[in-house]
Symmetry: C2
DNA sequence: GGCGATTGAATTGGCGCCAATTCTGTCGCA
DNA sequence: TGCGACAGAATTGGCGCCAATTCAATCGCC
């Protein structure tokens, strides 16, 4: 689907930033790719000024990197940093998991079951975008009930920064099925109010993902020697 | 001392932002106070454009709040949010403490002792600014050795957001002495490589501070009813 | 004498222009 | 044929101006 948000004049800065961020999340722009202001200008139907503002915001959030006189590019997260992010996520999401298990209500669990089911369907017939957004919605709904907005916000800030690897996102159908299974396991833990179980599930999920990335990256590095700073373009 | 950084043309945006942030930390601007662009322009000898950029950055970092057509004001952190920040800090700083205790080396401990000593002196003869910056340096040096730059960065992002309360910062000489004592206790824990002890110290430090703020705020609220959105100015 | 409206001053904020820098393709030379 | 230099094109980025909005004080009316 083509994304063409028309109106929105007043709040355009922040909104545009999150639209670009979403595009990056959905891999419409790949890590290392240059974001030309002129392109974004017409792609999102925004003024150059708003584009620059949005880009600055994303640079501050570390979603993209600003190179003076060269422009903005999607951040590439090296393995060292990726590991640091994963470790920090484990710390935060374990704590959040315990809080959520203690506070969640039946209505929310029902909603989560809906989302899990829809994700399960999307694994087969859905687009990658649908899969990604449903997965995100599922985890967002979980953490929304941790009772600590700051914790929640911090978690998502880190999650968004993890997307910058060359190989994040499900690399195989098998990984998708695994995610589906994990969702149901998490639901079981929530129903049992077992915070420890949920924390464990999350931890393993994060760390397993990281190992996937590390081995894949290893392979990439061995195969095609990546040169200093030049990366793929598009047009 | 008057802060008058002259040069710095290229990297002025981010640098200016951190200078303003420091000024806020040092209470040269109080929570709720409006930051007039024209004032900052000449106070920091910067162009209006750079001021705006710096202000935008701080708004994204939640250090200040942007009100359309009204300007930027130093963030006021309500008690609910302050508690959420404190809780999140506990989660992160406990984990960091354990990591630091396991990784710290003798040379760093020696440095820390220097800093602790200088803080101890500043408690008596120093300015509030010196006290604040020495305390910051002490904790910064500790966390620098947690082995996880992301964790470190996240901790400081939250710490900076805690400053927005009306009453943060040491409210009495007694509190300063207490901080001094805690520094030495932390050093003892580090020397013994006792991560748990360090984590406990940090936890109590954060939570005690929070309770101080909460009771003080309570008092303020009872005494002078604060009206909706108007707050102290200056000139 | 108090209160609301109108006018004037001040501040914010949108935007477009043009200079500075970098990139791409071509040409000349060894 | 390969390499280096030059020139044209394209992109970024600094900056100032002016409209829109808000604030403050005065004035007029009740």
């Amino acid at each position: 689907m083509s994304s063409e948000p028309k109106q929105a004049r007043g709040n355009s800065r922040r909104q545009l930033a999150s639209e670009i961020a979403q595009a990056i999340r959905l891999r419409m722009f790949r890590p290392g790719e240059w974001l030309r202001q002129i392109d974004l200008e017409e792609k999102f139907q925004a003024t150059r000024f708003d584009v620059r503002g949005a880009l600055d915001e994303l640079a501050i959030r570390k979603t993209i990197v600003h190179v003076p006189n060269r422009g903005y590019r999607v951040a590439e997260v090296d393995m060292q940093t990726y590991r640091a992010i994963a470790d920090t996520r484990v710390i935060l999401e374990q704590a959040a998991s315990r809080a959520v298990a203690a506070r969640i209500d039946a209505a929310t669990i029902a909603e989560l079951e809906q989302l899990a089911a829809r994700f399960g369907e999307a694994v087969h017939g859905g687009t990658r975008i649908q899969q990604s957004e449903l997965n995100r919605a599922f985890h967002q709904l979980i953490y929304r009930h941790c009772g600590n907005p700051i914790l929640e916000e911090t978690i998502w800030a880190l999650r968004d920064r993890s997307r910058g690897t060359n190989v994040t996102m499900w690399r195989s159908h098998e990984a998708l099925l695994q995610s589906d299974r994990e969702h149901h396991a998490m639901l079981a833990a929530l129903k049992a109010r077992d915070g420890e179980a949920l924390a464990d599930l999350i931890t393993h999920h994060i760390l397993r993902d990281m190992e996937d990335v590390m081995t894949t990256d290893q392979r990439l590095t061995e195969t095609s020697q990546r040169r200093g700073s030049d990366v793929s373009e598009e047009t």
